[in-house]
């Protein structure tokens, strides 16, 4: 299994490789712009460790680690 968005450290950047589910959540994530090929960067983590905030395609989006785990990444740059 390759890496997921959840494993990326703060400041780390990577390219989305796949959405690892085809349920509702995939639809929701992809409509917000989480689609394969786009670059995503972790901007910060909430004070209690969850959720995380990411920058994707010029927008800032917060998501829980549970959702970050369904996003597969490649070519990470810490």
């Amino acid at each position: 299994m390759s890496d997921t968005l959840e494993s990326l450290p703060v400041g780390g950047e990577a390219e989305i490789s796949e959405i690892r589910t085809d349920c509702d959540r995939a639809g929701r994530m992809s409509s917000l712009g989480f689609i394969p090929g786009r670059r995503v960067r972790i901007t910060r983590v909430a004070p209690l460790g969850d959720p995380i905030s990411v920058r994707i395609d010029g927008q800032e989006i917060s998501l829980r680690r549970a959702e970050a785990r369904i996003i597969g990444i490649r070519n990470p740059k810490p």
Binding site: C23, R28, S30, L32, A46, P47, P51, D57, E60, I61
Partner: protein
């Protein structure tokens, strides 16, 4: 020319049902509501969509002598109908459930994030409804270094594009013109060209469904069924198993080309949009985001938390303390009106009591919530319009996520510490229906300010004299956490085992920071206040009249005669009867007041509610409550704060006592059981006192909250909440008494 003839018909004056219907569609945070408010002014109507608690905002738009119906659809990111809001959007756009299909769509599009905003637009193109685009917040986009070539966008999309800055009212006249012009000569959006695998999948679904006698299936419907397997379209097909099989094989068709059926729709639309936007959006240099620096501070581990606590402290303080003078004002105004009216009704005691004690105090009891509702919605509008609300939710989400709530639950729950009514209403800021439902059910557990007098009375009477001020302070502090400590695990249980609603991912867009406009904030306050008074207020008023009647009737005059006689007999043992009668002849004498208090107490004991209290006292026996406490508890079901006044009446002190009253305190300390196994022993032992306080902490003794929950959810949930909390309160009081008296 069908739409043309439709328009002719629609223009007939005075027939509002036939006026053209224009719907505003867009993502959340695009300024859609501001556009709506600016276009309709105060000519708005708020209701619910049939069968769901999603707000339906409609209004009238006047432009060049034409009147149109304007509908503000809930903000959504895509047509994938997961949440109730999104279902409503889909229902309206496809004209389902008896809803009227709009004649024109106005897409409110955020220029700072054009690509994502166009996803919804591109999806809606399939529905083939004429459309206009309002390109909003172009000023903010320019500040971020993004330039949008609007004429080129217009050319690519083939529909009118109007640049607006809704918060400043710019471009709205042009938008009005574009709307009326588009109704005259409608234009459609270009539709995406689907790859073969999707067309084949749609054809499979179409063929399969029309084989089931569903008639012709339009491409738009087949697409929704394909990408939206839990959506409305799927829910209307009778044969679920064969539909699922059909969709599964259609999904396999998509999978075979290497696409993920869950995300294929967005992926393909974004490709289409990127080609449409080629050359339209130009970023001059690196995109400068004004909010990065502010986020660095507001979301900082330490400073962000400190600022969050400070902001929430201000919100809470203003609800808790700043609303108080206004509430006192409403209270004394209601008293003044009663005093003004009483003399006119002097000859008719029933009518006097109905109007003064039933209706006027009931109206006062509705209006008394207004200051807190208005103040809370002032802050909510401020926090949302500035963009801080999403940040606050990000900071505290973890505190709530384990029990099925989310970061957005914080403000509703915090404000419920002042009063559950605005708290329940504030739960509308939660988009996830499951989290919203849970937040609403937990809100009444928060220790609202109406519980405070009970705590102060009982702690001041029993804890402080016996255990000292430190123990008293700790008890008071602990009482404020009893509800919370009970509510969060309950929420967890409820979510884990009972609620069959699918949880939604908590994904939040962090909107750009903006300077809010007072106009928007006041409009929000006005909407909420009006809605509360008109919708919940009427039910609350009805409750208070019913409770008044239960405490007033049957009002047998024999009660007064017998009480007076008993009083005279008792008084005459110590002094000459003539003196007593002379004193009673003077209505201002202490003796007259004492007699009148006795009569009030006798009437309350004889009232329907009093009789009921005596009858159900055995139910409260295991908690150690005597009939007086039971009647006090029962009479405070409509509003818990009346317990003090009721106690005053029951203990012959009249209703003008407060939680600091020395008379009431000493009566309570000396109250003994009159009969039964505990005859002669004090009624208020420590377990009983703690039991009463915990009962008040957990019980839903607030008719207004029940009415608001019924309004925000439905009567079934309101009843569930009422009976559930009452049972829990009873059980806790019994446990405390049973365990406490054996220690």
């Amino acid at each position: 020319m069908t739409s043309g003839t439709g328009l002719e018909r629609n223009r007939r004056p005075g027939s509002s049902a036939l006026r053209p219907l224009v719907a505003l569609v867009g993502n959340p945070n695009t300024g859609k509501s501001t556009v709506f408010n600016r276009l309709t002014g105060l000519r708005q109507h708020i209701a619910n969509y049939p069968g769901v608690t999603v707000e339906k905002k409609s209004g009238t738009l006047r432009s060049g002598g034409v009147e149109l119906d304007l509908l503000d659809l809930p903000g959504c990111y895509s047509l994938t109908a997961i949440s109730k809001d999104e279902r409503v959007v889909m229902d309206v756009l496809s004209g389902q459930r008896g809803l009227r299909r709009p004649d024109l769509l106005v897409f409110v599009v955020d220029a700072t994030n054009l690509k994502r905003n166009l996803l919804l637009v591109s999806q809606c193109a399939e529905l083939e409804i004429p459309a206009v685009i309002a390109l909003n917040q172009g000023d903010a986009a320019r500040r971020n270094g993004v330039h949008i070539n609007a004429p080129l966008l217009l050319k690519r999309l083939g529909i009118p594009v109007v640049e607006t800055v809704a918060t400043r009212g710019r471009g709205l006249d042009a938008l009005k013109h574009a709307i009326t012009a588009a109704l005259e000569s409608p234009t459609l959006l270009p539709r995406i060209v689907w790859p073969d695998c999707i067309t084949r999948a749609c054809a499979m679904i179409g063929a399969g469904l029309s084989g089931q006698g569903r008639g012709d299936v339009r491409q738009a419907e087949a697409l929704r069924a394909l990408f939206d397997s839990n959506g409305i379209f799927a829910s209307e097909v009778a044969d679920k198993t064969s539909l699922k099989k059909l969709i599964d094989s259609a999904h396999n068709e998509i999978r075979s080309t290497g696409l993920n059926p869950g995300s294929a729709e967005a992926v393909l639309h974004y490709r289409h949009i990127e080609s449409l936007l080629d050359g339209v959006v130009e970023a001059s240099g690196p995109i400068a985001r004004t909010h990065e620096g502010i986020d660095g501070l507001l979301l900082h581990r330490v400073w962000g938390t400190v600022i969050f606590l400070g902001v929430m402290y201000i919100v809470f303080q203003s609800l808790y303390s700043w609303a108080a003078p206004l509430m006192d004002l409403i209270d004394s105004a209601s008293g003044a009106v009663q005093d003004m009216i009483r003399p006119w009704l002097a000859g008719m005691p029933v009518l006097e009591s109905l109007i003064c004690d039933g209706i006027i105090s009931g109206v006062g009891g509705v209006l008394i919530f207004l200051p807190q509702i208005l103040i809370l919605f002032f802050f909510i509008a401020l926090l949302e319009d500035t963009g801080y609300m999403a940040r606050a939710a990000f900071l505290v989400d973890k505190l709530f996520s384990w029990c099925g709530l989310n970061g957005r639950s914080f403000v509703p729950l915090l404000s419920s510490y002042a009063c559950a009514i605005p708290g329940v209403m504030a739960a509308r800021t939660l988009a996830d229906p499951k989290a919203r439902l849970t937040t609403i059910l937990m809100a009444p557990f928060m220790s609202c300010s109406a519980r405070l007098p009970v705590y102060i009375l009982l702690i001041g009477t029993f804890i402080e004299p016996l255990y000292g001020p430190i123990a008293a302070g700790c008890t008071l502090f602990a009482m404020h956490f009893v509800g919370l400590a009970m509510a969060l695990p309950l929420a967890w249980v409820l979510n884990k085992f009972f609620l069959k609603i699918k949880p939604q991912p908590f994904i939040l867009e962090m909107p750009s920071y903006r300077i809010p406009t007072l106009r928007n904030i006041f409009q929000r306050m006005w909407e909420r206040g009006r809605e509360f008074v008109l919708r919940a207020g009427t039910v609350i008023l009805a409750f208070s009249v019913i409770i008044w009647a239960l405490l007033y009737f049957p009002r047998d005059p024999a009660v007064e005669v017998a009480t007076t006689q008993a009083f005279l007999n008792q008084m005459a043992t110590g002094q000459p009867l003539e003196e007593v009668q002379a004193a009673l002849g003077n209505p201002d004498s202490a003796l007259s007041a004492a007699l009148s208090n006795r009569i009030d107490a006798a009437y309350i004991g004889q009232s329907f509610l009093g009789r009921f209290g005596k009858a159900v006292q055995p139910v409260f026996e295991p908690a150690g409550f005597d009939w007086k406490i039971t009647v006090g508890v029962l009479s405070s079901f409509p509003a818990r704060e009346v317990i003090i006044a009721t106690m005053g009446i029951i203990y012959n002190l009249g209703s003008n006592v407060d939680e600091g009253s020395e008379d009431l305190r000493s009566v309570l300390q000396n109250e003994k059981w009159q009969s039964g196994p505990r005859a002669g022993q004090p009624v208020y032992t420590l377990p009983v006192v703690l039991g009463i306080m915990v009962f008040f902490a957990l019980c839903m003794q607030c008719g207004a909250t029940v009415a608001v929950i019924a309004r925000e959810l439905n009567w079934r949930w309101a009843a569930f909440s009422f009976f559930g909390m009452t049972a829990l309160a009873w059980l806790s009081a019994v446990l405390i008494h049973q365990i406490g008296s054996r220690l």
